[in-house]
Symmetry: C2
Subunit: 344 residues, 2 copies
């Protein structure tokens, strides 16, 4: 393997000149540079990232820190959306020639062992957090160390940190308003998961706010705590329809729940959207497959913006204003909500 020394010798210059030529960090005469570049090409030379990293203290690696793959949360946004996010991240990091390291904690190990190890041993320059839960210890340590990171998804503490997120509150609000505009007053809500997950909590609050804004009283019997299984949508609808005054529309917390509702409806001769209108979140393949109106999350843009922001933060290590970027999402109207109207 050729080293910078070989290049210097072959090009008849010193190694510092070679370094200047490669990095543009010092003046080099055009012909000298040309000669150097030729030798580099000829010897197929590539600077060693370890050697470079040792002196620059940069690795050109960022870490995408995700929940454990086995976790349901990992597929929270529907699967193909993760691909979208990766694509967005990829585009941003490619521009600056950064690499992407993927990491998560093994269940049973310390909750932040992996990520702090990566930070401590200086294997990464920054972190992209993609973790819908907010209970997050390492954050504070990282803030203290001034280690660059960006949060994808809301983080409810008021620490000044970089965040890129969709507005789940807004999504819940718009889904609900959409139903209200269609004339519904009795509107059920299935939470996508425990309300202490911000995604779920925010959507629920958006739902409530929409009701308030339209002078509809929130009925606690119209709330059903769901999870990531079809069955939770199924039993939600079952439960709702047993009420004396059942809802005429439901905001499903996620597409798979909407599918469960569809299942129950079909088995029991209930018509969608005639008897019960449904809107959902995620706009996954399932929504498309079953003609379910659903909120589309632009994870591509989230990924791209978050990575861009992180690279900026890495670039200027000085104090800088933290940013809070909200990526808008839109509602994809399909059959299940009983309208082809556009919302608002």
């Amino acid at each position: 393997m050729a080293t910078i020394k070989d290049i210097a010798r072959e090009a008849q210059v010193s190694i510092s000149t070679v370094s200047f030529a490669i990095n543009g960090t010092g003046p080099v005469a055009p012909e000298t540079k040309k000669r150097i570049m030729e030798v580099i090409e000829r010897l197929n030379y590539h600077p060693s990232s370890a050697a470079r990293g040792l002196v620059t203290r940069m690795t050109n690696n960022i870490c995408l820190y995700v929940p454990h793959p086995k976790s349901n949360i990992f597929t929270f946004h529907g699967n193909n959306l993760i691909n979208d996010m990766l694509q967005g991240i990829g585009e941003s990091i490619d521009e600056k020639d950064y690499n992407l390291l993927l990491a998560w904690e093994q269940p049973g190990s310390e909750t932040d062992a992996k990520i702090m190890s990566l930070v401590n041993k200086k294997a990464i320059d920054g972190i992209l957090f993609f973790n819908p839960t907010h209970n997050f210890k390492p954050i504070y340590e990282l803030i203290k160390q001034k280690f660059p990171f960006v949060f994808m998804g809301r983080f409810f503490d008021n620490e000044p940190i970089d965040i890129v997120d969709i507005d789940n509150f807004d999504a819940g609000y718009r889904n609900t308003v959409h139903l209200i505009k269609l004339g519904h007053k009795n509107i059920g809500f299935i939470s996508p998961g425990p309300l202490n997950y911000l995604v779920a909590g925010d959507r629920f609050e958006g739902y409530q706010e929409a009701l308030r804004d339209h002078n509809i009283r929130y009925n606690e019997h119209y709330f059903y705590l769901g999870d990531n299984r079809e069955a939770s949508g199924y039993s939600a609808l079952e439960t709702f329809l047993k009420l004396k005054e059942p809802p005429t529309a439901v905001v499903a917390g996620r597409d798979i729940q909407a599918v469960g509702m569809l299942q129950y409806a079909q088995e029991n001769g209930i018509l969608v959207p005639e008897d019960i209108a449904i809107v959902s979140f995620e706009n996954s393949q399932l929504a498309e497959l079953h003609d379910i109106t659903s909120i589309r999350t632009d994870l591509y843009r989230i990924g791209r913006e978050a990575a861009k922001l992180l690279l900026q933060a890495i670039g200027r290590r000085k104090e800088r204003q933290t940013q809070n970027i909200i990526i808008p999402s839109d509602i994809v109207i399909r059959r299940s909500c009983g309208s082809v109207l556009n919302p608002e």
Copy 2:
């Protein structure tokens, strides 16, 4: 940040002793070691991976090299399965304290620019290839350089390389035999994609071989070239049923195609499995949702074995026998095939 020098000074030993103590690469007196470890703990010292990498020529990073996220191929095996694979990889690399770098080529860039750059600049110690297409240039360069890598999925050349794969031929064979055993003789086959993708080609060959083994003549009208969209299953069934002698069973190339078939069947009053039996591949969420018999691919084991193999290869850089590990897959019987019999 504490360095090895600080530790040496505080522990009143030389830096080599510290190094020996940390890595176990030299004899250190128990009390000395204890003292050193205490200082390390106290100063929260972590060896710099760049410095270490510079001398050991190891990065402790491996690269999972995948198709572009936008590519359909990326979701070929169904999405949650990718998670399974990641989990498997994660378990293996955690044991040896390795990190996972995720990389793919941006469309439009050179087909192997990213991966060869990673190799050249010595940012990784080995590569896990996950790429269903076989048209793969960098392989030969890597072989020449003796750079460690493992292929997940078949590679049809006869180069001696490490491979971990499921037996798609076997899967196609077993799906077909399952239908034959149920009494079917006219069996359609929808390819999951172009036949030059080995996944598709192998499944198709398994299908053909099963027919041959049971003295059933292959009928080319029973072949339909599908893709990754529901519509291809839909039109496949439509096409098949228009034949003078339509098939009574179909091997769908992937779950989404089976769903498309179900859709067509439902719209046209065709009963599944009574009128047409269906088996498929992937065993994705869709298969579960729609009660489709499907072949389960154990991507968890593929990931785990592949990463393990790669780490072995990285460990002993000497000549070693390449391995060819086949991970068995099994068939998950559901309603769509018209049996609860176990195959074979």
